[in-house]
């Protein structure tokens, strides 16, 4: 049970929690958080993958994770922006309706 | 890419391009649109003509484009496709002209004409298709392109109609697609090969082929309006008239029928299909549809819906023709494709004209339309008669070949179907014709367009007239080189190759002897059409029969029977014409009388002169139908009821005759062993029996004769009745012994008629009815002698001249008696001429009774020695004289009463007396005329025997004895057995009514359950979809994940 194996299992666990969260959470923010948690999970699996062989560290997964992180943040930003604009739309429509 | 590969493509492309071009023309540029349309139509027609000439002299035209892996888009011009292409090309031209006239100033015409030419383009493509896939492509294109046409008006009714049309055709298209794909997978590329593709392909399992056949036929059946799939046709009558004209006469409906022909012949091959038992299935469905369509048409009041239902039944003729696996039936089916197209398009044009100019949509509103729109209604009548199958016109040709084909394939039930459907056709077309011509206009036209120079816009009038002309021409010149009949025969010969019989025997050739005789009357007939010439023509009418009379007297003719009949007919027609000049002088409806007088004359002379079966039936039908207005002339109530009974019996006789003659021609041509000749002879006997007053079939005679004007009733009983006898002589196989089983009943019927008619006639109170009954009794004698001839075939040589002699005698005597009835006013006692007039009455009466030295005695004597081998016959013959004397005595009593009653002061009219005198003279001296050359003077003397005298005295004794008794007896109604028949008719009508409202209630029940089902399914779907908004898509996704896990890992 090397530490890499432990981490990859943890990564999968995080992925599972994230997926469960996305399916079950009701609020949009929670869904976005869940998606990010899934992302962290996958990245942990990848990084653990890189260290499978204690002697040599495989740099490729690291590059993938780096790109993954940037994409994750981009996706989250867009989702949040849309959420806020929807909320703003509801607010202004409520003001008009009052 | 030379001409032979490009031509089919050009033909298909031309209408499609015209369609697109018209779609692009803006709405207001009507001239450009009109020129485009008509130019396109003409161009396509010329291309088709080129293709036609090419195919005739053997060139092969094929356009082949790669479409799908190992399937090509093939347009192939073979004989069958050309039949349909030329039909649609031709009718497209006329319908375009009609449509331009019809849509004078209505909205979005560009759209209409665009889709119109696209629709024709699709039809031509469909016709030229070389394999089943190309056929399918154009078949579906046709559906798409006809949808906007039906929905053209845009109102709720046409949208609903378009929707139903779509539902049916879409489902049909889907079934066809499945069938074609499945067949393609089984049998590879599906090119149409003339003797059937699947026959030779090895290793195809038959159950699959059967299912595929059912799929294909269901798919095509929708458009061919076979029974369960026909409901869209009547509903889509909401479309404008040109659409329903082209669609239901040519494009859509024919596409289905053409498809069935292609599938049965070029894909399955007829023998292979019949081995699989498929053709029987198709035949049954087609047969049922024919009957169902006609029955439904009966109950429709809307004209276009009635025509729609008649299309439903007519198209199934084609399917029936293909289903009966026989070359002749195929010809019948194929030729009906063209004929039905022509007839139906004429009918729809006329319906469109009525709707457009008078706003008439219902049949009940059509009374008196003939007067307002004579030409359109004439076209309508020709086409309607064609649909019924009246001989010379197109419909008859296809029914004829279908009949013979049915016999060839031993499918006797098909003959039954043909008979019933002709009966039904008559019963839903004749009332319309009656309403048009013979009823007065009882209500103002709903939406009348002001009357122009012509009855309606020339563009609306020309097409129906041309197509009507084509209907007539196709019928009359059926066996000419370029007629559709020869073309279909060519197709059938290519389909059947080896086993194709020579059909020259049953071909319809119209040829009569001494054709020049009919020229003068036909000229007079055409002259009648012009108002100005009408008065002069009426005066010339007596000259019409003279050429025939000269032919009878002067021209040496080896056929004695024809010469004698010709003599009788022409003489009586001449005398009647003279008589009519004065008799009808002050009658207001005399123009109509003279018109039909000439028509009947042509018919009668034609029948006598004709040498061919087809010309015989044609003139026979012409005579019987044109006699109807003569009977109806006085428009009184009894006249109307008499006329209706007369026409009903005529229709019945026509149909029975049709069957009889079909049987006779078939067996004359292809050997008689299969079906006993007895059946054919019975049919012929019944067919001509109606006309010749056979015992139970005579009921129309006593009602019709008294009602008609004197010259007409004279002609009716003297001459027209004899045609039945002529028919028997010509067509009954009197020589051979096989039908002597019929002799017994004939003789019994003959003599019962003679005696019963005499007794019944004696009780009548109207002079003409008495004479009518005397005709019936005299005819009884002829019937009996014919029966005798059947019993002893070898005596026929002797018997024939005797029968002819007797017929001639009866003709002249009865004619002069009828003429005397006309003189009744002049018979008052005390005037110096009355004894002379009484003499004119007594001479024919006494010769009828057969007193010595009279022609009657001579005829009876001839009969006696011809039937000497049977003593009973001659005694009965003598006894018959008693009956005749009874009738004559009663006649004279009535004449005396009338003379006293109408003792008008007017001096006797010479121009009436002269023709009666002439006929009385003819009655005495006819046997000196050339056809009889009686050499032995002593035969006349031999009539002086006692046997000729005692019956007269007994008759006189009975008259005086029963004078008082007869005064007390109530007068029995004129047509004796008619009451029985009418009761029977009422009974069957009641049972039919019960059946009708039984299935009406069933239909209602089905609709109700369907309605509930629909509502229930809607509510279920609403509830389902509420849950199914997948408010838990996540769970669904997870369930899918599980499913995939399972399938992947196990």
């Amino acid at each position: 049970m090397t530490s890499a194996l432990l981490y990859s299992m943890a990564g999968l666990a995080l992925f599972a929690i994230g997926f469960f969260g996305v399916v079950v959470a009701s609020h949009v923010m929670r869904k976005i958080l869940a998606l990010n948690v899934m992302g962290v999970g996958i990245f942990m699996f990848l990084i653990a993958l890189a260290k499978r062989n204690p002697l040599v560290v495989d740099p490729l997964p690291h590059a993938l994770v780096l790109t993954g992180i940037v994409i994750a943040v981009a996706g989250t930003a867009l989702a949040l922006n849309l959420m806020v604009r929807i909320h703003h739309m509801d607010q202004s429509s409520q003001e008009q309706s009052k | 890419m030379n001409m032979s590969t490009l031509l089919p493509a050009f033909i298909v492309l031309c209408p499609l391009l015209v369609g697109l071009a018209v779609m692009a023309t803006p709405e207001h540029r009507s001239l450009q649109r009109r020129s485009l349309n008509i130019g396109g139509a003409l161009m396509t027609l010329s291309l088709i003509a080129m293709l036609l000439s090419g195919v005739v002299n053997g060139l092969d035209f094929e356009t082949r484009l790669p479409l799908l892996p190992n399937i090509d888009f093939v347009l192939h011009g073979d004989a069958l496709s050309l039949l349909f292409v030329s039909l649609s090309g031709l009718l497209w031209l006329f319908t375009t002209i009609y449509a331009i006239g019809y849509f004078k100033n209505s909205a979005n015409r560009s759209r209409f004409f665009a889709f119109f030419s696209l629709c024709v383009g699709a039809t031509i493509g469909l016709a030229l298709a070389g394999n089943l896939v190309t056929f399918l492509i154009f078949y579906e294109l046709l559906t798409l392109v006809t949808y906007p046409l039906i929905a053209h008006k845009g109102n709720a009714a046409s949208i609903k109609a378009a929707r139903t049309y779509l539902v049916y055709t879409m489902i049909g298209g889907a079934l066809l697609l499945t069938g074609v794909v499945w067949l393609k997978v089984l049998a590879g590329p599906l090119d149409f090969t003339s003797a059937g593709l699947l026959a030779e392909l090895p290793g195809l399992n038959n159950s699959h082929l059967q299912i595929i056949f059912v799929l294909l036929i269901a798919g095509l059946g929708v458009k061919a309006a076979l029974f369960p799939l026909h409901a869209w046709l009547p509903i889509s009558m909401a479309a404008p008239a040109p659409v329903s004209a082209l669609l239901h006469a040519v494009a859509v409906v024919k596409a289905g029928a053409f498809g069935i022909v292609r599938v049965v012949y070029d894909i399955y091959g007829v023998e292979f299909a019949s081995d699989l038992g498929l053709t029987v299935l198709l035949a049954v469905i087609a047969g049922f549809t024919i009957i169902y369509g006609s029955v439904k048409a009966l109950s429709q009041d809307d004209l276009k819906r009635r025509l729609a239902y008649s299309t439903v039944s007519q198209v199934s003729y084609i399917a029936l023709g293909t289903a009966i696996a026989g070359p002749i039936a195929t010809i019948g089916g194929l030729v009906h494709l063209v004929h039905q197209g022509l007839m139906k398009i004429t009918l729809f044009f006329c319906a469109g004209n009525l709707a457009e100019t008078l706003g008439v949509h219902k049949i009940s509103q059509m009374n008196g339309a003939g007067k307002r729109m004579p030409l359109t209604m004439a076209a309508f009548t020709i086409a309607a008669f064609g649909m019924i199958g009246v001989p010379p016109i197109a419909g008859f040709v296809s029914k004829w070949y279908l009949g013979v084909g049915a016999l060839e394939a031993q499918a006797y039930w098909v003959l039954g179907v043909l008979a019933i459907s002709s009966l039904l056709n008559a019963s839903y077309f004749l009332p319309i014709i009656h309403a048009i011509w013979f009823k007065e206009q009882d209500q103002p036209w709903p939406k009348e367009v002001p009357k122009l120079r012509l009855e309606t816009h020339w563009m609306l009038l020309l097409p129906p007239l041309i197509t009507a002309f084509f209907v007539l021409a196709v019928g009359l010149f059926a066996s000419s080189a370029y007629s559709p009949l020869t073309w279909s025969a060519l197709i059938a010969s290519r389909e059947y190759q080896a086993i194709f019989p020579n059909i020259s025997g049953i071909a319809l050739k119209y040829s009569t002897g001494h054709l020049w005789v009919l020229i003068l009357p036909t000229l007079l007939l055409f002259a009648m059409a012009f108002k100005t010439l009408r008065a002069k023509v009426i005066r010339l009418i007596p000259l019409a029969p003279l050429p025939a009379l000269l032919a009878a007297l002067l021209v040496v003719n080896e056929d004695k029977v024809e010469q004698s009949f010709l003599l009788l007919t022409s003489a009586i027609w001449f005398i009647a014409a003279l008589y009519a000049q004065t008799y009808m002088a002050n009658d207001d409806k005399r123009n109509r009388f003279y018109l039909f007088f000439i028509l009947t004359m042509i018919g009668n002379l034609g029948v006598v002169l004709s040498q061919e079966i087809s010309s015989f039936i044609a003139f026979f039908a012409l005579m019987s139908f044109s006699a109807y207005p003569l009977i109806l002339h006085s428009e009184s109530d009894e006249a109307k009821s008499a006329a209706t009974t007369y026409i009903r019996w005529v229709i019945f006789s026509e149909i029975v005759l049709f069957l009889g003659l079909v049987g006779r021609t078939y067996y004359a041509e292809f050997g008689t062993n299969e079906l006993p000749v007895v059946w054919v002879s019975t049919l012929l006997i019944i067919g001509f029996g109606v006309k010749a007053g056979l015992a139970t079939l005579h009921v129309w005679l006593p009602k019709a004769h008294p009602v008609a004007p004197i010259p007409a009733s004279a002609l009716l009983s003297a001459v027209m009745v004899k045609v039945g006898l002529l028919g028997w002589i010509r067509f009954l196989p009197l020589g051979d012994a096989s039908i002597n089983v019929l002799a017994q009943p004939m003789m019994v019927l003959g003599f019962t008629a003679t005696f019963l008619a005499a007794i019944y006639g004696a009780l009548q109170d109207n002079a003409k009815t008495v004479l009518a009954y005397s005709t019936v009794s005299q005819l009884g004698i002829i019937v009996a002698s014919i029966g005798f001839a059947l019993a002893t075939p070898d005596s026929w040589a002797l018997l024939l001249p005797a029968i002819v002699l007797f017929a001639m005698h009866h003709g002249f005597a009865k004619a002069s008696l009828f003429f005397c009835v006309g003189l009744s006013s002049a018979l008052k006692p005390g005037h110096k001429l009355t004894p002379f007039l009484w003499l004119l009455v007594l001479v024919p009466a006494l010769s009828l009774i057969g007193l010595p030295l009279s022609s009657g005695a001579l005829a009876k004597a001839a009969l006696k020695d011809a039937t000497s081998s049977w003593p009973l016959f001659s005694t009965l013959l003598v006894m018959s004289a008693i009956g005749t004397t009874l009738l004559m005595g009663r006649f004279i009593e009535l004449m005396k009463e009338q003379a006293i009653l109408k003792a008008s002061s007017a001096k006797p009219n010479w121009r009436l007396i002269l023709p009666t005198a002439l006929s009385a003279l003819m009655c005495l001296s006819y046997f000196y005329t050339p056809p009889f050359e009686f050499k032995q003077f002593q035969t006349i003397v031999s009539t002086l025997s006692w046997s000729a005298v005692w019956p007269a005295f007994t008759g006189l004794l009975i008259i005086f004895a029963t004078k008082k008794l007869r005064a007390k007896l109530p007068v029995p109604p004129a047509g004796d057995l008619l009451i029985v028949y009418q009761a029977l008719a009422r009974l069957s009508a009641k049972t039919w009514q019960k059946i009708a409202n039984l299935n009406a209630s069933i239909a209602q029940y089905i609709d109700m359950t369907l309605g509930h089902l629909h509502l229930w399914s809607l509510s279920v779907s609403r509830r389902l979809s509420k849950q199914l908004t997948l408010d838990t898509p996540g769970t669904v996704m997870i369930v899918m994940l599980a499913a995939l896990l399972y399938t992947f890992l196990t």
Partner: protein
């Protein structure tokens, strides 16, 4: 799952419909068991591409293997990744007011001293450290993305005090945002001309080129991430009536 996207709803965290709860627990457990089984089975390639990368590291012009992979071996991925970032920035940027100046300093009356102090001390340190990170990327852990993110962090700090306003839709901002993608593409396509196929750096200049790309990338990433953040803060692009009352707790 996605049907109820309520934003105001502050109710219980879990979408209570029992069906989805049970099913999801069941299957997620299944998923976990399956994947753990994979991890334990441990078959498969134990070193991945490590040996291959170490062989080619000297050809790549940089010594840090991750930067080599990112900017040389899989340069195409990085290019597309920058494009992704740009897409999101573009989607979020407001479309109005091109004319406002790129950088504006506003004198705000009420100064939050702590914040001001923090800004004054930390921002320069962060900038220097980011520079170092960028430079060290070639041979030690570091690189464009990390430097860019760091600078973005600094800009977040700056925005808190509302003293600086950066207008991301001005021409200058737009050019800077797009700078890295333009540079990357031009270099890539130019290399086709010189070296025969896309993004093959010539041995001599590969180090230099990578550094150039990295710097531009850092600039663009900083601006991109800063604009992402500012879109939530800045009020003008989302006209919210409560502009005046924005108070920070």
């Amino acid at each position: 799952m996605f049907n109820k996207l309520d934003i105001e709803y502050d109710g219980p965290a879990v979408d209570k419909s029992a069906l989805s709860l049970i099913a999801s627990v069941l299957v997620v457990g299944l998923l976990l068991a399956v994947t753990i089984k994979i991890v334990l089975s441990d078959k498969g390639h134990n070193t991945g591409l490590a040996p291959l990368i170490t062989q080619n590291i000297e050809l790549s012009g940089v010594t840090n293997p991750i930067t080599a992979v990112l900017l040389n071996f899989r340069a195409y991925d990085t290019l597309l990744e920058i494009a992704v970032l740009l897409v999101v920035v573009l989607a979020i940027l407001p479309t109005r007011d091109h004319h406002a100046p790129f950088f504006k300093r506003i004198e705000v009356s009420k100064q939050n001293l702590v914040l001001l102090a923090l800004q004054r001390w930390i921002t320069p340190a962060v900038v220097i450290f980011a520079g170092y990170l960028l430079w060290a990327g070639a041979h030690q852990p570091g690189g464009a993305f990390q430097a860019g993110a760091l600078l973005a962090g600094a800009s977040v700090l700056m925005f808190q005090s509302d003293t600086y306003q950066v207008n991301y839709t001005s021409f200058m901002a737009r050019v800077l945002l797009v700078l890295s993608l333009v540079v990357f593409i031009t270099i890539g396509t130019a290399l086709i001309w010189f070296e025969g196929s896309l993004l093959t750096y010539p041995l001599a200049f590969s180090g230099l080129l990578i550094l150039l790309i990295e710097t531009c990338a850092t600039v663009s990433i900083t601006l991109a991430l800063a604009s992402l953040y500012s879109s939530f803060i800045a009020s003008e692009n989302i006209s919210v009536t409560d502009h005046k009352h924005r108070t920070i707790k």
